[in-house]
């Protein structure tokens, strides 16, 4: 209830209480502008974070838990080696299942490269075996040693080898995105604190008079807090809107795996920028309140 009252008090301005502090004009516009600029940047930080998160998830999910065994052998030995390989795999801890691809499946894999008319059956192409891991995974070095001994024509393509650094890079970028987001929030808090402190100092005489006629600190602080929260909120709303529009207007490239083209929002993520004005208002509120109470404690 109390919270609700505080919140409504924030947005239904107490006209009289707000008039006791003289209007500021130009500097007010500057505060709103800075809040807008911060929010604009925050949208990009947010987009970067979400996009790299998506990328990391995709890479780790799509490629996780599956690897490929490639067997190249003279035609007469092929079936023997396949059987031997499957047997090795079946007895390897951490392998959930293993299955030789059918000719049709292999043909489908090659089609993008050689066209639909390739007579796969007649070519000495390697046989692929799809290996699905359990959640714990297998020991790839151990498996390679056993395969080398029992199936000389087998090569294990373990995707983790190149997947791991990519996932690590994406995670790092996501971390950077969050850091940028927090830094933007901190810079916004610093900017509002400076602006609010300047406003408080410029109004020392007003504050003194208000104290003399019996105003409590909460009343005086409230007049400033409402002002700066409003500016922070409105500025952040404008900036978030502009930032979101800019991302929406980014030219769309075809390659879905590319990184830059993934920068943007997908689905419900488009709603995320909505929280930027709220955060902007909250940061402005907290910063102004702290500045006001600090200043008021210095005064009799």
């Amino acid at each position: 209830m109390k919270l609700l009252k505080t919140l409504t008090a924030l947005f239904i301005p107490d006209a009289q209480a707000d008039r006791v502090v003289p209007p500021t004009g130009f500097t007010a516009t500057l505060t709103t502008f800075s809040a807008a600029a911060m929010a604009f940047l925050a949208v990009f930080a947010m987009a970067l974070t979400l996009a790299s998160g998506r990328l990391a998830d995709r890479w780790s999910n799509e490629l996780a838990r599956s690897s490929t065994l490639r067997i190249s052998a003279p035609e007469d030995q092929m079936q023997v080696q396949i059987a031997a390989a499957l047997k090795v795999l079946e007895t390897t801890p951490g392998v959930a299942s293993a299955r030789a691809l059918t000719a049709e499946e292999q043909k489908a894999l090659l089609e993008p490269f050689f066209g639909p008319d390739l007579p796969v059956e007649d070519l000495p192409i390697p046989q692929l075996i799809e290996v699905n891991e359990t959640s714990t995974g297998y020991d790839s070095t151990g498996l390679r040693l056993r395969l080398a001994a029992e199936v000389p024509g087998a090569v294990l393509d373990d995707h983790t080898r190149w997947r791991k650094p990519l996932v690590a890079a994406a995670s790092r970028i996501r971390l950077l995105g969050w850091t940028a987001f927090l830094l933007i929030g901190g810079a916004m808090a610093a900017m509002i604190t400076l602006a609010a402190s300047a406003a408080l100092s410029a109004n020392t005489q007003v504050i003194k008079v208000l104290r003399l006629v019996g105003a409590q600190d909460s009343y005086i602080a409230g007049a400033f807090v409402r002002r700066f929260t409003y500016r922070g909120f409105v500025g952040a709303a404008i900036g978030a809107l502009a930032g979101t529009a800019a991302i929406w207007l980014l030219p769309e490239a075809e390659t879905s795996s590319g990184f830059l083209t993934g920068l943007g929002f997908q689905g419900t993520h488009w709603l995320w920028p909505l929280c930027i004005p709220v955060l902007g208002g909250a940061v402005a509120l907290a910063a102004t309140r702290a500045a006001a109470h600090r200043k008021l404690r210095e005064m009799p």
């Binding site: 006791v20 003399l212 600190d217």
Partner: protein, 225 residues
């Protein structure tokens, strides 16, 4: 209502005021006089808690001023109306809003109170100047406005620091009559002034005591004025 017990005050150098013991009882009317720089304003500030005594104890409505936190001090200010020597207005608000400021900051700015405001403006003769900004008023008008602001919360105590400082005799008389009227309504009044004529004029109208600051002490002056 206001009790000073062996109070002393110093701004950092030597003591400006020493060994002051005094009680303002309800309904009393006091003048405070003394040469310029003797410490009248300082004494007034001790009486409304703007300054804390450097020695001794000051009690406002039975509360030691040292024990009051900031919010309690604000509540105390609502019970003591002060006419400051330099008025202390918000220069960007019209005088009517300045007079209503104590109501506004205490959340009492409702319809009834605002009707009182009209009456009060008429009482101090500022009805026609309601929309003027403080810097646009004459010295006397400002001081009457300051008095109106001091009484709008109907405080129990009114402290007026040189309320007739820069106005002519006619206007001083008028201001004095306002203060006397308030005293007759039961308010405790203290007026700092160096105007002996004002004190003589008051003595004809009410029972007033005169306090004089001399040699850092506050003494009750005799009948010889």
């Amino acid at each position: 209502m206001i009790e000073l017990d062996n109070v002393a005050y110093s701004y950092g150098g030597g003591e400006l005021l020493s060994e002051i013991s005094l009680q303002l009882s309800p309904g009393s009317f006091h003048f405070l006089t003394g040469p310029s720089g003797a410490g009248k304003t300082t004494f007034m500030k001790l009486c409304y808690g703007a300054l804390q005594p450097t020695a001794g104890q000051a009690r406002l409505f039975d509360r030691d001023v040292r024990s009051l936190d900031r919010d309690e001090m604000a509540m105390m200010r609502r019970r003591i109306g002060v006419v400051h020597q330099d008025c202390q207005f918000l220069d960007h608000l019209p005088i009517s809003e300045n007079i209503a400021l104590p109501l506004n900051v205490s959340g009492r700015d409702n319809i009834d109170e605002l009707a009182n405001l009209k009456e009060l403006m008429a009482w101090v003769g500022l009805k026609s100047r309601a929309d003027a900004l403080p810097p646009e008023l004459s010295g006397g008008e400002r001081q009457r406005a300051a008095l109106a602001r001091a009484v709008i919360m109907s405080p129990d105590v009114i402290l007026a620091d040189e309320p007739t400082g820069n106005i002519d005799w006619e206007m001083s008389q008028r201001l004095l009559r306002l203060l006397v009227e308030l005293n007759r309504m039961g308010k405790t009044v203290m007026v700092a002034t160096h105007d002996m004529n004002l004190i003589r004029a008051a003595k004809g109208q009410i029972q007033a005591r005169v306090l004089r600051i001399a040699n850092r002490r506050v003494q009750l002056a005799g009948a010889d004025l």
